[in-house]
């Protein structure tokens, strides 16, 4: 039988262990972010931030452009899919399988999605590596997130919204379109910001789809030309992929600084998007809580 003193001692030992473990983990994580940003910003030169063959500007533009295309793609199918799961699907076998399929999609390795994209969007269409194929691959990756965020947002709305609208004689679809969707717009927005954060960092899915080269001419605005920045059917290397490429390429004498600077830019983008999403959802919670 354990004595009281022994019990107390083991309790404080375990508490110390847990606090120590948590503290170690948090310090490690914060140090990691700080290190990446500081190291990257230190090595940055004005030339790196420029647009052109020696700067990261083109990759930055490609990243943003690709993520915007990808988000449009996953919005077009993901939001309706979320509405389907929350409003139309029952509790039958089909719904169960739809859910399981979406979960599987969420846990697929991104390189597998990249290979699929390579086969379906590059080989089978007979095209060159292009941003559009990359955007489609990334939209497959962000699709489960958008779907589940939409579903959760719809499910979390008070039932009185639905009852009020239906009671006024609106049809189911009119209720969804005019009442429910506007009410959960901020939450869906939060989900899209989170999805964008994921898209910025994606590299494995883009290796075989968006390609690893960029050749754009900032004076060329003819959208059909392959060097026009806005043409989605041109190869385009994103920042994340650039880090991977710099690992082996020794084309630039300052490859290490370039990769560190890219990491820092990516990190700042991801952190600020994640903070924005958090701030937005915090504001929604406050508003919802206040109106009770």
């Amino acid at each position: 039988m354990t004595s009281l003193a022994q019990k107390k001692r083991s309790d404080s030992i375990m508490t110390a262990l847990f606090v120590g473990g948590a503290g170690f983990a948090v310090v490690l994580l914060v140090a990691f972010v700080g290190f990446v940003i500081i190291q990257g910003v230190e090595g940055m030169t004005p030339e790196m931030l420029s647009f052109g063959p020696h700067g990261l500007g083109d990759m930055f533009f490609n990243t943003v452009y690709l993520v915007v295309l990808a988000l449009v793609g996953s919005m077009i199918t993901g939001i309706p899919a979320g509405i389907f799961l929350a409003e139309y699907a029952g509790n039958g076998k089909v719904t169960h399988w739809v859910r399981m399929a979406i979960e599987t999609l969420a846990s697929l390795p991104s390189i597998v999605v990249g290979l699929f994209g390579y086969l379906a969007f590059i080989v089978m269409t007979g095209s060159q590596w292009n941003l559009f194929a990359g955007a489609l691959a990334v939209s497959i990756l962000t699709l489960p997130l958008v779907t589940s965020v939409t579903e959760d947002a719809l499910r979390n709305l008070p039932d009185s919204y639905r009852q009020g609208s239906l009671g006024l004689g609106a049809s189911h679809w009119q209720t969804i379109w005019n009442i429910l969707l506007p009410a959960c717009f901020p939450r869906i927005m939060t989900g899209l910001i989170m999805a964008a954060g994921r898209g910025f960092g994606e590299a494995a899915a883009l290796m075989f789809t968006a390609g690893m080269s960029t050749d754009i001419d900032w004076t060329n605005w003819d959208i059909t030309s392959s060097s026009c920045p806005l043409n989605p059917f041109r190869p385009g290397e994103t920042l994340a992929l650039h880090i991977w490429a710099l690992r082996t390429e020794a084309l630039h004498p300052d490859a290490v600084q370039m990769a560190s600077a890219s990491s820092a830019i990516l990190m700042i983008m991801v952190v600020s998007f994640s903070l924005a999403a958090r701030w937005l959802s915090w504001r929604i919670d406050k508003k919802m809580g206040g109106s009770k």
């Binding site: 309790d11 508490t15 473990g21 948590a22 599987t104 846990s107 699709l143 049809s171 590299a203």
Partner: protein, 307 residues
């Protein structure tokens, strides 16, 4: 007037029908994407067995990896070293990160004040979003030289480095899942335990952890799925030597790193690319298996809870 109303009602009915059909199509269509991916992978991945006539046993258990990069075939496609590389790095990552995950989750739910918790939780969740190449890059420039300094190893690129990078990557996944599961344990159970004279540690060990077991396992499986599918971060630090992972301090290869590094150069339709597709198919099947396991686990714990 009546006519206009009837028209509006008819239009609403028509819109209702169209919307229902479109929405259902989108829902089913989304669910078909993974099946489509699976079908493509099956189509390409089974070439190894049906076109190049290798046996499943050879692919899974043989260590001779020498596929020919031609459409004639005739090479060897033993992928056992990649499979074992993947399994070893995942297991190592889990061993390294699990103690930290569990203690952070316990700290967040049981020990920290609500204010501290509100600070730590976003910080942990932030890390799910950090790009894997950034982890890989820091692993390459900081971890690898550091390991070379303190351990007797020739390159620094090693199974151990890959395990460390993966451990950091799966930490937020497991921690958030475990913390959610622990927070879901009813407060009355804890109070009952304290009321019986148990200390906090006894309550955690005998009440909270057993009750949250299902959620913790779900987190572990999700973390493993993430570790298994990670390609570039691992490829940057593991050294990519095509050998079995015999030592923690030596380079090796995993399924994902082999695909990432060799797919670009392999000839379309050749034996080499077929073998790589089979490896991608293996990854797909494994992640499907993980999801299936999670569902089985949840159903089992649901049944227990319903009693």
């Amino acid at each position: 007037m009546i006519n206009a109303l009837a028209l509006a009602v008819r239009r609403a009915h028509r819109n209702e029908k169209t919307a229902r059909i479109l929405i259902t199509l989108c829902g089913i269509g989304t669910a078909l994407v993974p099946f489509l991916i699976g079908a493509f992978l099956l189509l390409k991945g089974t070439d190894t067995f049906f076109v190049f006539h290798h046996s499943l046993g050879e692919f899974l258990f043989s260590g001779v990896w020498n596929p020919s990069d031609t459409a004639e075939g005739g090479g060897h496609v033993g992928a056992a070293m990649f499979l074992s590389g993947s399994l070893v790095t995942c297991a190592l990552a889990l061993v390294l990160s699990l103690p930290l995950c569990i203690s952070t989750a316990i700290f967040m739910t049981e020990i920290a004040t609500p204010r501290t918790r509100r600070l730590i939780q976003p910080a942990v969740e932030l890390f799910t979003g950090i790009p894997s190449v950034v982890y890989g890059w820091i692993g390459l420039t900081v971890l690898v030289p550091f390991l070379r300094l303190i351990f007797p190893m020739p390159f620094g690129f090693s199974v151990l480095a890959a395990g460390c990078v993966l451990a950091v990557m799966i930490f937020p996944t497991i921690t958030t899942m475990a913390a959610d599961a622990m927070a879901a344990v009813p407060k009355t159970w804890r109070e009952a335990s304290y009321g019986l004279g148990a200390t906090r540690w006894e309550t955690i060990a005998h009440i909270v952890l057993p009750a949250a077991k299902g959620g913790i396992f779900t987190g572990i499986i999700l973390g493993l799925a993430r570790a298994l599918g990670e390609a570039l971060a691992v490829a940057m630090v593991i050294g990519q030597m095509k050998v079995f992972p015999t030592s923690l301090f030596l380079p090796a290869s995993t399924l994902t790193t082999a695909i990432a590094s060799d797919m670009g150069g392999a000839m379309e339709g050749g034996e080499y690319s077929a073998a790589l597709w089979t490896m991608a198919l293996t990854l797909f099947l494994l992640s499907f298996l993980f999801i299936f396991l999670i569902h089985r686990l949840n159903r089992a714990s649901d049944l227990k809870g319903g009693k």
